[in-house]
Point group: C2
Chain length 336, copies 2
């Protein structure tokens, strides 16, 4: 058995007992002492299941603080659930980590998970911990709940629907660029606070869980923006057998992103397609638009109309601020 502590290294069972069992606050988790969870789904609810993997060097950087890695790993799954109008119920965590991962990493990582659990009510119910020769790889499968028949999907948008997006777009991309090349801060005329904001948006994307109810009440279709705004709008349009038109001049950018755009206007196409935003795009019928906006505002989440559903099926077109089609090198991110 490897339960002994060797210097700064902990055994598998010690890691689970010390860092993860405290996150397993629901009886369903059986204290993580079993190898499965037993979940009771309340009558009248559907289960929404989603799964995202984060890999060091692909989805986060090796020197990102461990707490931000834990936060992000759970956040991107809660973002998927929020786009479905579902609240987080439980999650399973698979960790494939180098054998020499120190206790401080687990301490930080689990604190990032805890922060988001406490903010949203989701709890850890199971998982797997494996020593791997590869880069740290984290897979979370999140299970959400929504009243039967009320899940919001990618399909369902109708021609004429307004397209809304929450928050601001492109911050995470700029944050990642800054982490890789800090000199860009002066090129983009950013203050320290500006840079910290953009980096925070890359490392710790806040899931838009406050939009669960407005999305469920008023959106006909929704998607979270993980792979790029234009590409993800196109996925929603294609699933709805419709097209979409985005007005780039209406897309919301944060004040720091606006500074970068002023210094480097050609960043516009990149910000619209870069991804990692974890904002929600919702297709809302004209008749519900005012109610959707009011409910989102009441929840404290800014939402902005950026275009409409319509046009050639399966295609998301983008108009530049001058009204002409915007040239895009690509519409979003795809692995492989």
């Amino acid at each position: 058995m490897a339960e002994r502590v060797e210097g700064e290294r902990l055994g598998e069972f010690e890691i689970i007992a010390r860092y993860f069992a405290p996150l397993a606050t629901d009886a369903a988790a059986l204290g993580l002492r079993d190898d499965a969870a037993v979940l009771v789904i309340s009558e009248g609810y559907e289960l929404i299941a989603t799964c995202d993997t984060l890999i060091e060097g692909v989805h986060f950087l090796g020197n990102d603080p461990p707490d931000s890695i834990g936060y992000k790993a759970l956040s991107v799954n809660l973002s998927d659930l929020a786009a479905k109008g579902a609240r987080g119920h439980a999650y399973l965590l698979s960790l494939a980590l180098p054998r020499e991962t120190p206790p401080a990493w687990f301490e930080g990582f689990s604190s990032g998970l805890r922060e988001l659990q406490e903010a949203t009510g989701i709890t850890l119910v199971g998982g797997d911990t494996t020593a791997s020769p590869g880069p740290p790889t984290i897979t979370i499968t999140a299970l959400g709940l929504v009243a039967h028949g009320h899940a919001v999907l990618r399909h369902g948008a109708k021609t004429g629907d307004r397209l809304y997006v929450s928050g601001t777009i492109g911050d995470a991309y700029l944050g990642l660029r800054l982490l890789k090349d800090p000199a860009l801060a002066s090129a983009w005329d950013l203050s320290e606070e500006d840079s910290a904001f953009l980096i925070g948006r890359y490392r710790r994307p806040k899931p838009r869980t406050e939009l669960v109810i407005p999305v469920r009440n008023f959106a006909q279709a929704a998607i979270d923006v993980s792979d790029g705004l234009v590409g993800d709008v196109e996925k929603l349009a294609r699933a709805s057998h419709a097209g979409a038109l985005i007005e780039a001049g209406s897309v919301p950018f944060s004040a720091p992103a606006q500074k970068a755009l002023q210094r480097e206007p050609r960043l516009l196409a990149t910000l619209l397609t870069a991804g990692d935003d974890y904002e929600i795009v919702a297709a809302v019928p004209e008749a519900s638009a005012a109610a959707f906006e009011a409910e989102a505002q009441a929840k404290g989440v800014p939402v902005t109309m950026i275009g409409r559903i319509g046009g050639p099926s399966g295609d998301a077109r983008v108009l530049a601020p001058d009204g002409k089609p915007l040239e895009l090198g690509r519409k979003g991110f795809a692995h492989f």
Copy 2:
């Protein structure tokens, strides 16, 4: 968008559409065209959730046939569910693979999944596909169903319960040794069929899904043997606040394993602790033993009594065939 086909490489969406969408036969999967699944859990059922990660070089070998990798990735999860008395309902698949993974790999891998789906009724409902700089890493989260209150857990075994194990123990370990050092076949006096059998047990462990009903009907506690028979029995005993006694002379070994044991008797302790068996250990009260055996036999699964629950709490002791305590270097496998 990366949907184009580049030579022998496929885009992410093409991979999903060609190889995985055909496995998503349930409406809950939304044809894998959404980023989440919508599952309706029938009234009166509980959901069992479990998660296992397989990494090349850790859980399978780089030259294992891709279909066996797919088969094993799903099998180890179905094994966990079977030990809970739960039948497989749906699963999510996360693939982190090198960018240059060829279509033939996906073809083989998905055929291994399909084989087990068709044998057991579980279906793919979602997942994530990511290009990774690390070794192929596969995480499956499986969701099973069991009638409310009927899940069999690790805890619940009582002093005096019989300990049963399905099938035979140690085959997969011997198969792995043969793959790494083919010369062992002659050292262990194995025929080609013997070697193929043992290698097959490593590469394609058959989940004991036929035991779902006997386990649910008669076991007070159960666990699947993934990390070593003795260690996993000890986990069951510890969770049950009990001890366990295993008689090594009663542990079932296949004919090829018996040949290896005859040539190399000191393998005994290794086979009892090596893991990767994916057999089921069940604690069955004396009064239910005959019924359990009969029902398992009727399902075509051999089960063998290997000992009893009892003795010092949290400890699994092993008696050698001569009745003396068997020396074990370790009781099971642990990461970290």
